[in-house]
Amino acid sequence: MLVDFEQIQKAKAGDDTAFNQVVIAYRKRILGTIARLIGRPEDVEDVAQEVFLRLYYSLDQLRTPEVFEPWLYRLTVNASYDYLRKQRRRNESRMSDLSEQQVMMADAAAGGKVSGEEHRRKQVKELVESLLGAVSEQDRILLTLKEVEGLSLKELEKIYSVNENALKVRLFRARQRVLNAFEATRASDKKPSGRKD
């Protein structure tokens, strides 16, 4: 816990100063989790604010301060899921407006601005992003929380309020799909590139 129970109780009772301190304590962690869940740095703050806004108006429903962190993670998961769903709809309409060549040019222009370590990070981000595109938004979030954020099954069980076995099955299936996509990507990378003149 990044804040003590008393602070959460005060925030729950409507103390805005206490709520402010809770936000300040958790915002970096939540911003990081959201960044990795949604993969779009420009929208991370917006989604994080939505999480804390939902927290502000639902804190009175929190039964005990002990369950505060899973509760906050649940709000984070829900806000990220809402964002990803909206984003998919928006992307579908936006991408259909662009020709393939325009998309490739935009990618090349974005790639030209970075170098070295930043370039490697960008590659990792893009690869993970494309692999997670093989699964639904729910599975993407679940997989990211488990594999990237490193949350345990017990923690996920508290966040999702689902039993461990159901989570294991879901995680296994999602990972298999991502693994298949990964194999396909690697296989296409290793393939000799077309004809040689």
Partner: protein
């Protein structure tokens, strides 16, 4: 298969390092409180509207209950309920004279 599995695990692990927790912008807290206040004013408006609606519904129901509970006013000229008007139009003597009621029963009623 195991090789791909391990490589995927390594890729996921490196993802956290590739995307470290970002710092919040200085505008984060003011913007958050602006959104909190914005939502609060919407909620207050909805609350006020629902109170007005509730008061109007209560007033209407009081009016209806009052209208229904006032007993129907009967005029001496016979504009009462259907049964009363019918009884006034056909007194028992008339029914007896038409042979609908036995004459003794009609006399007993008039006594």
């Amino acid at each position: 298969m195991d090789q791909w599995n391990d490589e995927l695990s390594r890729l996921f692990a490196s993802c956290k390092a590739a995307m470290p927790d970002p710092e919040a912008s200085p505008n984060f807290m003011p913007e958050l409180w602006r959104r909190v206040e914005g939502r609060r004013s919407i909620l207050l408006r909805i609350k006020k509207l629902s109170q007005v609606f509730l008061a109007a519904a209560a007033a209407l129901s009081i009016v209806f209950v009052t209208l229904l509970s006032v007993p129907a006013f009967t005029h001496p000229d016979g504009s009462g309920s259907y049964i009363e008007v019918l009884a006034d139009a056909y007194p028992t003597e008339t029914l007896a004279s038409h042979g609908i009621l036995p004459r003794e029963a009609a006399e007993a009623k008039t006594k």
